[in-house]
């Protein structure tokens, strides 16, 4: 078979799988054409303005927080030397294991008017309500802070990988030209790392758009809460889907902006000569500043909430750690592992297909496959239920008519449907990571491979995958942790008698028993920790292996 023939097959495969993955999103978008009565007029007259304003402000806040927190700490830990650097290098990823809704519950429990912090303050100072000002955690700013605290690791991870893999020659040239660390950072490293930083930021913002738990609990009216209210409160599925489609509009704008800003710039290294990094040695107040800067997100995003959860788990919650409990742990881990492996394979397949044959069709198909990340889990789940049940019922009707056998529901209510929903929802994470890794490999590497007579598959296996090892692992573990934390799609799609840790934590939380959620929440965090630490170790190692 000619190389061209093979490429066509590959492209066709990419387009097909991307479209299958996009089914749930397409189902929702399909609702756009269903008339929704006068609900839009009502929304426009009353709450739509708030939804748009709050969503934009929330995104702005999260972007600001994750960029400063993520890029700043990534630069410090990869390029500077200061006390505790080795610790921060891996510990800074820890907040990623913390689901946003859990951190929101935890901080509310601590900082609310009736919580221990304010109560203690009142007791000490003899204040009463209205006597003093205290920041309101359950607000738009609070929601942005909560989300930024658990989402900055995306930016951190991706920009750190970019800093580490930047050809040292470039940074050295910058130094020999007399640029100090600040100038090198702003004028050389930062622009070079832009694709990775933007990829991380896009992930964080899409996750922000999809968040329901935090904004709902904080009473911040965004698109996501609006979708639920319109769907269930106003009982209007069409208008809700139309709101969801508008939400996707936000994402498309986001992606377009990123593309425009990138234009035709290329970011791959022209040299593979990486040497051990000569880090800037920080001393005195600079070292102190660096430690504080790195400690803050870790403390707020992980140590304090984890500490509070532990306190609750020990003092208040009564949970039997019996067989049922371990079953939850097993289910959670199983689902996360299966979804992570499939997502990785798909991401490599799609990402590499796009590199191989970057036509308009392939590129847009890959983009569509990643859209699900910004869609709230419940919406995705409904987008899975409708076509799956349709397929099952159609097949059943046909089998009955033809053979007199009822096949019943084959896919609906199975783990397969659930995994499919995870893939739709989280493929973007794996895809972004794999693609960000792929663009850094010179096309001349592919050409060299081809000139030696290798087929695309061999080039992928022998050249790209070994170089990409770090990115692939990152992609897989990111999906793993995301699935572990996922709630709404799991709730609605899971089979009978099948629960996960997230479901357990949610059930207690929605019963307003925050303290009782602590054991399940902590277990999610712990289960997420291992891959997160593994991830961070391996990135450091792969970097060291590269540089020898």
């Amino acid at each position: 078979m000619s190389t061209n023939g093979r490429r066509v097959w590959w492209s066709a495969g990419v387009v097909f799988s991307a479209l299958v993955l996009a089914i749930p999103v397409l189902v929702i978008v399909g609702f756009v054409f269903v008339p929704s009565g006068d609900v839009w007029r009502h929304l426009a007259d009353t709450v739509l303005g708030d939804y748009i304003r709050n969503t934009l402000l929330l995104m702005l806040g999260v972007a600001f927080g994750t960029l400063i927190g993520g890029v700043g700490t990534a630069w410090l830990t990869s390029m500077c030397r200061f006390p505790g650097r080795g610790f921060f290098e891996w510990a800074l990823i820890l907040p990623m294991a913390m689901p946003a809704y859990i951190i929101a519950y935890t901080y509310t429990g601590m900082l609310d008017f009736a919580g221990p912090v304010q109560t203690t303050l009142r007791e000490w100072m003899g204040w009463r309500f209205g006597d003093y000002w205290f920041p309101e955690i359950r607000s738009l700013e609070g929601a942005a802070l909560m989300l930024a605290l658990v989402l900055y690791p995306y930016v951190y991870l991706l920009s750190r990988a970019a800093f580490l893999s930047q050809s040292l020659c470039v940074l050295d040239v910058s130094r020999t030209l007399g640029n100090g660390p600040w100038r090198t950072f702003f004028f050389v490293a930062l622009p070079l790392a832009r694709p990775a930083i933007v990829a991380g930021l896009t992930l964080a913002l899409m996750e922000t758009l999809a968040d329901y738990g935090t904004v709902q609990y904080f009473g911040v009216q965004t698109f996501t809460t609006g979708i639920f209210r319109t769907w269930f409160g106003l009982n209007n599925a069409a208008a809700a889907a139309q709101l969801a489609a508008m939400l996707l509009g936000f994402v498309l704008v986001l992606i377009a902006l990123e593309r425009i800003s990138r234009r035709n710039a290329r970011y791959h290294d022209t040299s593979q000569r990486h040497q051990a990094i000569r880090r800037y040695h920080l001393t005195g107040w600079r070292a102190f500043g660096a430690v504080t800067f790195c400690a803050l997100p870790l403390l707020l995003g992980f140590l304090i909430p984890a500490g509070q959860l532990t306190h609750w788990a020990v003092t208040i919650a009564d949970t039997a750690y019996d067989a049922t409990y371990w079953r939850l742990v097993r289910n959670s881990l199983e689902l996360a592992a299966i979804a992570a492996i499939i997502a990785l394979l798909l991401a490599v397949f799609l990402g590499y297909g796009k590199r191989l044959h970057p036509t308009r069709t392939v590129t847009s198909a890959v983009k569509v496959a990643g859209l699900g990340y910004a869609v709230p889990g419940t919406v995705i789940a409904i987008g899975v239920i409708i076509p799956f049940a349709w397929f099952d019922n159609t097949l059943d009707a046909w089998m009955r008519a033809t053979f007199g056998i009822s096949t019943g529901l084959l896919l609906s209510g199975t783990i397969a449907a659930l995994i499919f929903a995870y893939l739709t929802r989280f493929l973007a994470v794996a895809l972004q990571t794999v693609e960000a890794g792929l663009v850094r490999i010179r096309p001349s590497m592919d050409e060299a491979g081809r000139s030696m007579g290798h087929r695309p598959m061999q080039i992928l296996g022998r050249i790209h995958i070994p170089i990409l090892r770090g990115s692939l692992l990152t992609a897989m573990l990111l999906v793993f942790v995301d699935v572990l934390k996922e709630l709404p799609a799991t709730l609605i799609l899971r089979p009978f008698n099948y629960n996960t840790l997230a479901v357990r934590a949610y059930e207690l939380a929605s019963d307003e028993r925050l303290a009782d959620t602590a054991p399940a929440a902590l277990t999610i965090v712990l289960a997420g920790l291992l891959p997160v630490i593994l991830l961070s170790r391996s990135i450091t190692k792969s970097r060291n292996a590269d540089s020898t």
């Binding site: 609310d112 008017f113 009736a114 209210r229 049940a389 529901l409 199975t414 609605i492 089979p495 059930e507």
Partner: protein, 342 residues
């Protein structure tokens, strides 16, 4: 072509392991429940012990369970659905995914207002939503009706959660039924003006805020108050102990109550077992359990209630046919949007 192969192998593995296990010959019943696992599973276990019928359970919010039922159609595995409010039961009936249960036991046990006239759904437990006030700060004589809470005298003194919540939606729906849309909207504006803070958090948060001094009264379901008293968390217990229950509208229609209830699905395949389970859930033993474990009021008139519930006194409940809550639900949401109730 290695990745292709492994992908295929994985997909096959998943599909085969995920295929529903073909049920063994023994009897079972499949339940979709909006009651949380912890608030239903013990009863189901007892049912299995007594009858040998296995109960398979999925829990989720009622709205999404309904969507699942609707999409699955006649092939749905679910035999029964339990929700925690009448609005969603009504919606299920309207969507055509339920069927009547012909059971003398259910009809005899459950008062008429708490079940569907055509037998499509039956209430299992009552959830009252009265006014809770801080003892010593509010003179109970100054309280009378929900309607009176719109009076400017209460400015900055009321805590209530978001209008996203179904309990508020149903409460407002019951007011629409009693007072009409216009009067209720005017009332909602007045209530919003009297709120001590923008709505946030759940019912327990309102109680805690009142106890901490942020407001004088909270509107909340009583079982949250019971839950706080039984929580074992000293700060929650202390907060709940400062609160007293006031039953509003005792001189007219009565205090707003909602039900958690059960319906048989249109697709039910284990009808006998499903009927047995529904009947078991209104047995005196099960009814006492709701009060004991979750502080809800039994739907069975002469069921035992706990000393705690007794201490809050008896009350007259709003006798509006509960399917009305479902009918007026969407209108209630629009009204609250217009009134600026976040």
């Amino acid at each position: 072509m290695k990745p292709h192969l492994s992908l295929l192998a994985l997909a096959t593995a998943i599909i085969t392991t995920a295929l529903p296990v073909i049920a063994a010959a023994d009897e079972e019943v499949n339940l979709y429940s909006a009651r949380k696992e912890e608030l239903i599973k013990p009863l189901l276990d007892r049912f299995t012990e007594q009858t040998g019928i296995r109960v398979n359970l999925v829990t989720d919010k009622a709205e999404t369970l309904l969507k699942r039922l609707e999409s699955e159609g006649i092939n749905s595995p679910a035999d029964l659905i339990i929700t925690v409010d009448a609005g969603n039961l009504h919606r299920a009936k309207e969507a055509g995914v339920t069927q009547p249960i012909a059971s003398e036991v259910l009809i005899a046990a459950i008062p008429e207002t708490y079940r569907d006239p055509e037998g499509h759904w039956f209430g299992l437990s009552l959830r009252a939503r009265p006014i809770l006030y801080v003892e010593g700060k509010v003179d109970p004589d100054s309280l009378s009706t929900y309607e009176a809470l719109a009076d400017p005298a209460w400015q900055g003194k009321i805590c209530i959660r978001s209008s996203d919540n179904i309990y508020n939606q149903s409460m407002v729906a019951s007011m629409i039924a009693a007072d009409g849309v216009e009067a209720t909207e005017a009332w909602a504006r007045g209530l919003v003006a009297n709120m001590a803070r923008p709505p946030r958090g759940g019912d327990r948060d309102q109680i805690a805020a009142a106890a901490a001094g942020q407001c004088d009264i909270a509107i909340a379901n009583t079982y949250y108050l019971a839950g706080m008293l039984n929580s074992g968390d000293p700060s929650q217990v202390a907060a709940a102990e400062m609160m007293r229950v006031f039953w509003p509208n005792q001189d007219d229609r009565g205090t707003h109550v909602n039900v958690s209830g059960i319906a048989m699905t249109h697709a039910a395949k284990n009808k006998d077992a499903a009927t047995q389970l529904a009947e078991f859930l209104v047995s005196p033993e099960s009814q006492a359990w709701y009060a004991e474990v979750n502080g809800e009021y039994p739907v069975l008139v002469d069921a035992e209630i706990t000393p705690l519930l007794q201490s809050w006194g008896t009350f007259k409940a709003d006798e509006v046919q509960l399917s009305v809550l479902g009918e007026y639900g969407p209108e209630a949401v629009r009204l609250m949007d217009r009134a600026g109730w976040k």
